[in-house]
């Protein structure tokens, strides 16, 4: 990743917009994976499946009912930390969205998007 120095993980990384190498918006940092001792950031986690974790207990139950359980590869995606290119106004990634399995929400092949009147 370009640049060095310290970053405030919660203040400047969590909830940031993520963009791929072409500037396409592919979601927000919904959670961060930390491993090891001392903890190191190993991945960024993206997806609606992660929302229940961010909500207080009762709302979390409701959220899980609406959005379904965490489905890794579906509504929860993992971006390895090595894929992050730069932290600016957005989290910029090294590769294009498709190469990382991201941006499926707006993908024209997705069933709900296909049904839209202009597609």
């Amino acid at each position: 990743m370009k640049g060095s120095g310290e970053i405030y993980v919660v203040h400047r990384l969590l909830d940031e917009q993520i963009c791929d190498s072409e500037g396409k918006r592919v979601g927000r940092v919904d959670d961060i994976e930390l491993r090891g001792d001392p903890p190191r950031i190993t991945a960024l986690l993206v997806g609606e499946g992660l929302y229940p974790r961010r909500l207080p207990r009762h709302l979390a139950r409701l959220a899980r009912r609406i959005g379904g359980p965490e489905l890794w590869g579906g509504n929860a995606l993992r971006i390895p930390w090595e894929e992050v290119d730069e932290l600016a106004a957005t989290v910029k990634l090294r590769k294009k969205a498709e190469d990382l399995g991201l941006g499926m929400g707006d993908d024209p092949k997705r069933w709900i998007v296909r049904r839209l009147p202009w597609n």
Partner: protein
């Protein structure tokens, strides 16, 4: 001279409609009930939106972040979601009120059923957005809205006691809950957040950088200043004509009556035409603001310039908001009543969307040299205090006065 003209046109285009149905309703009622006594509240609200817009425009230009990016970042997911839900409800009510407003004005002009015009208005808006280039859309509604300067002309034509008018600019408080309700209402109608959210997203879409900061400041001061002048004029003409007669303006058509009185059919048509463009512009701004906020919070691809293929969920959500707006406008509730609620609720939700922007605008690590200076800091926090007071008082006053019905 030519440069000034060009800048003026740019500002008009940037701001779109200067007034919306909230201003039309609350300013006219305020004038009829309290004559010129609430002019100070109009000015207070106008300065407020200029402050808020300048800050969000600056944040967008320097940090590349639109409002709901700032909100999710600064408040986190949980509180940010509260802000999103509140903001979406307010925007939905606003869209419904504006659509209803368009329909009422069309009914007054063409005497065909209101419910037909609600649909027609929505269809026309979609067509305008789909067919006109984006600069054209803003200019279309902005220039059309200038017709409302007939209200200013009416104020001068009426020759009110200018001393009395001037006295209205001096803040005064009364223990009357109806008066206080209108202080909140007039201020809130001037400071509708969807305008600013739309403006901030527009700045990102235009690719604003630090070079646009002067333009941003001009837009904020002059653009919203024009809105303020029109609002003041509305209060004055309504106060002059309606207050002595005890007229209670409960209908949108009443707003145009003073202009008919002063300039006959021409005045009436200019007033109704200006209202149509302003409310139409507001319908577009509020519906897009709702989609912008949703998409930005969730991290979707967004932007009018992206088009429906690149930003399908954003575009679809815009259409859904329009549909919901139609449903509410067709439900039989008078749009003037919907407006009372949309305006009052908007000030209740305002602290949540104002505070994060204020904090980021003052944060040097985001604003690299363009953070709030001492003047902007004082003004920014002063308005936050005012907004908190009004947000707390708003609903009790709404209930106590039965939404201004007394």
């Amino acid at each position: 001279m030519k440069a000034i003209f060009k800048i003026a046109l740019g500002i008009i285009a940037a701001i779109g409609g200067f007034l919306d149905i909230g201003d039309l309703v609350f300013d006219t009622q305020a004038g009829a009930l309290f004559r010129y006594d609430l002019l100070w509240a109009v000015v207070l609200g106008t300065i407020g939106i200029a402050v808020y817009a300048e800050m969000t425009g600056r944040v967008a230009a320097v940090s590349g972040r639109p409002v709901f990016d700032v909100i999710r970042m600064r408040l986190g997911f949980g509180m940010g979601l509260v802000a999103l839900v509140a903001s979406t409800i307010v925007n939905l009510l606003t869209v419904a009120a504006e659509l209803g407003g368009i329909a009422i004005v069309l009914e007054l002009l063409f005497d065909a059923p209101y419910s037909m015009f609600v649909f027609a208005a929505a269809v026309a808006l979609v067509a305008i957005v789909a067919l006109l280039p984006f600069g054209g859309i803003e200019r279309f509604f902005g220039y059309g809205g200038l017709a409302l300067f007939v209200v200013v002309a009416t104020a001068f034509h009426q020759e009110p006691n200018w001393g009395d008018v001037a006295a209205g600019f001096v803040p005064s408080l009364s223990s009357s809950s109806l008066y206080l309700y209108f202080v909140v209402g007039v201020f809130a109608a001037a400071l509708m957040p969807y305008e600013v959210h739309f403006y901030s997203s527009g700045a990102i879409e235009e690719g604003w950088t630090e070079e646009n900061l002067k333009e941003n400041r001009l837009n904020a001061i002059v653009g919203y200043g024009i809105g303020g002048i029109l609002s003041v004029a509305l209060v004055v003409v309504s106060g002059y004509l309606f207050h002595p007669l005890g007229v209670e303006p409960n209908d949108l058509g009443t707003v145009a009556l003073p202009m008919q009185g002063a300039f006959g059919e021409t005045g009436l048509l200019l007033a109704l035409g200006g209202m149509l463009f302003c409310v139409g512009g507001a319908a577009i701004d509020s519906s897009f603001a709702a989609s912008y906020n949703l998409a930005q919070f969730l991290g979707w691809e967004w932007g009018r310039y992206q088009g429906p293929r690149k930003a399908p969920r954003f575009t679809a959500s815009w259409l859904v908001f329009l549909l919901l707006g139609i449903a509410i406008a067709e439900s039989g509730i008078n749009p003037v009543e919907i407006t009372e609620y949309s305006v009052v609720f908007s000030v209740v939700a305002l602290p949540l969307t104002y505070l994060p922007v204020l904090l980021i605008a003052g944060d040097r690590s985001f604003m690299s040299g363009h953070a709030n200076g001492p003047f902007a800091t004082v003004l920014g926090w002063l308005y936050f205090a005012i907004i908190i007071v009004l947000a707390v008082a708003a609903i009790p006053l709404l209930l106590a006065t039965n939404a201004g019905g007394g």
